[in-house]
């Protein structure tokens, strides 16, 4: 045991001690949600030699619209086996927010560990249409704008400021997919030059195919443990030294799309700038959004960004944010990083953002 990192006064040290994710695939037409989760839950417990009966709280993240039936999270509980009855909750959000809820509960000291998981599939329905239902139901949803079209509005606004160009987007995509070559869970990985990528057609101008995330089926799970329990389960826990999330207005025309004010604020509250950052796993589904996020978090040039390939390499909806926290944690466990930042986003054009600072001792 090596002690705990410095924390905000009154906070309890809580660490990520285990992480598992499903293979990220374009379409799993074979398994249902429970069957996809079963091996992931087994792995996340198996990694640290515990069972479902050892955790004090369970929290999941998912959304009903992906498969077109209400209460999808209810059936998914069967992948855990909540018997005898368990303290359990669910957010209709990315699993990163389920992790936040568990972290809050762990702060109170009654429990020492928690299971967090999330699941979601892009393949059962048409995600471009489904996500339009997240928009203002009177003014925007009736027009059925798809996420790529809205992201492209954001990208164009960024180009208009002169702070970035299509070539910058291609450079982000090329680096992310090259990094993904080293990630066995990546769905989309290649070694292609930005110049080559810029020859692709527009999907929605100014975004070309390379600037878009893949459509992914997947799920993920994390075990959190507090205090000494973290060291019992993990040699070098990834302690959460700051975590915060903020939301912006839904009205795209009332926001500065070229800045992520909510990420900046969450990053400040989480203490990103208090010390140097070795690695940042950013949930930027579209290439230009990584540029906005790096800027919003004030990350220095030497910070390694999304070594997993990020959401451009695999974007399992409702899990891609939680996976960023998992990926950043693996860097702490292995000693490749001492201080990491993980980020999750939700809503069109980076409407809601969570920032988590992870440190090893």
């Amino acid at each position: 045991m090596s002690g705990f990192p410095a924390l905000t006064s009154g906070h309890r040290p809580v660490g990520v001690v285990s992480f598992a994710q499903h293979d990220n695939v374009r379409r799993d037409g074979e398994h249902n949600d429970v069957e996809m989760l079963l091996p992931v839950i087994a792995e996340v417990f198996g990694n640290v030699g515990i069972t479902k009966d050892d955790v004090g709280f369970i929290c999941s993240g998912s959304t009903d619209y992906l498969v077109g039936g209400p209460f999808s999270f209810v059936g998914a509980l069967d992948a855990v086996g909540v018997w005898p009855p368990r303290a359990e909750s669910h957010v209709e959000m990315d699993g990163a927010w389920a992790l936040y809820e568990a972290w809050v509960l762990l702060q109170e000291g009654e429990i020492d560990s928690a299971l967090v998981y999330s699941f979601g599939r892009s393949s059962p329905g048409n995600l471009s249409e489904i996500l339009a239902l997240q928009l203002d139901p009177y003014y925007m949803a009736p027009l059925w704008p798809d996420p790529c079209s809205l992201a492209a509005l954001q990208a164009q606004a960024l180009i208009d400021t002169g702070r970035a160009s299509e070539a910058d987007f291609a450079a982000v995509a090329a680096r992310a997919r090259r990094s993904a070559l080293g990630n066995p869970k990546a769905q989309l990985a290649y070694d292609r030059s930005p110049e080559e990528l810029l020859r692709e057609d527009y999907e929605v101008a100014p975004l070309r195919r390379h600037a878009l995330p893949p459509l992914t089926d997947g799920c993920a799970a994390i075990v959190l443990a507090a205090g000494d329990r973290a060291y019992e389960l993990c040699e070098r826990p990834a302690f959460i030294t700051g975590i915060d999330h903020r939301v912006e207005t839904h009205a795209l025309g009332a926001r500065d799309l070229t800045r992520s004010a909510s990420t900046t604020l969450a990053g400040q509250k989480a203490g990103v700038g208090k010390a140097g950052v070795d690695v940042a796993e950013l949930h930027a589904p579209f290439a230009h959004q990584e540029l906005i996020l790096v800027d919003a978090l004030g990350l220095a040039d030497d910070v390694e960004v999304s070594p997993s390939g990020g959401a451009l390499a695999a974007n399992p909806i409702m899990s891609a944010g939680l996976i960023r926290i998992g990926e950043a944690s693996t860097r702490i466990w292995s000693g490749l990083a001492d201080r990491a930042v993980a980020h999750a986003t939700s809503g069109p054009c980076l409407q809601q953002n969570l920032v988590c600072v992870l440190e090893g001792v």
């Binding site: 027009l143 704008p145 527009y202 929605v204 100014p206 839904h250 795209l252 025309g253």
Partner: protein, 153 residues
Amino acid sequence: MADEGVHYSADHVLEYPYVRSVGPTVGAFLTGLRDGKVVGIRGTGGRVIVPPTEYDPDTGDETTDVVDVGPEGVVTSWSWVPRPRPKHPLQTPFAWILVRFDGADTSFLHVMPASGPDEVATGMRVRPEFAPEAERVGHVNDILHFVAVGGGA
């Protein structure tokens, strides 16, 4: 007969005819569209919010007076769709545009026909092309699309 490898799948349709009550503020905007005009509402610090909401989108403060805006405006950002999706408002190549109506402080999302990305630009002046009066019902689609004012960027 081996059970292994029997994978079924089936089409599943979720289809509901939602009917939304819109309330006085959204209603004012939709009523305006039906009558061929555009209105906004005053929010925090007197700024004009278009499309209008019951609250200032940043502060949550109650909004106050309904005010006429536009009908012309300026494009604040855009994206260009070469291959429209089946539910998109236009089925030939078009641009999504954020339009700040004259007199407004926020922008409104709609569409504009464009055969290429060079036919739309930030800063371009545009105006709405309304559906014929008899066809307007009080819906964002009462604006068929926007067109450039004076025929160019």
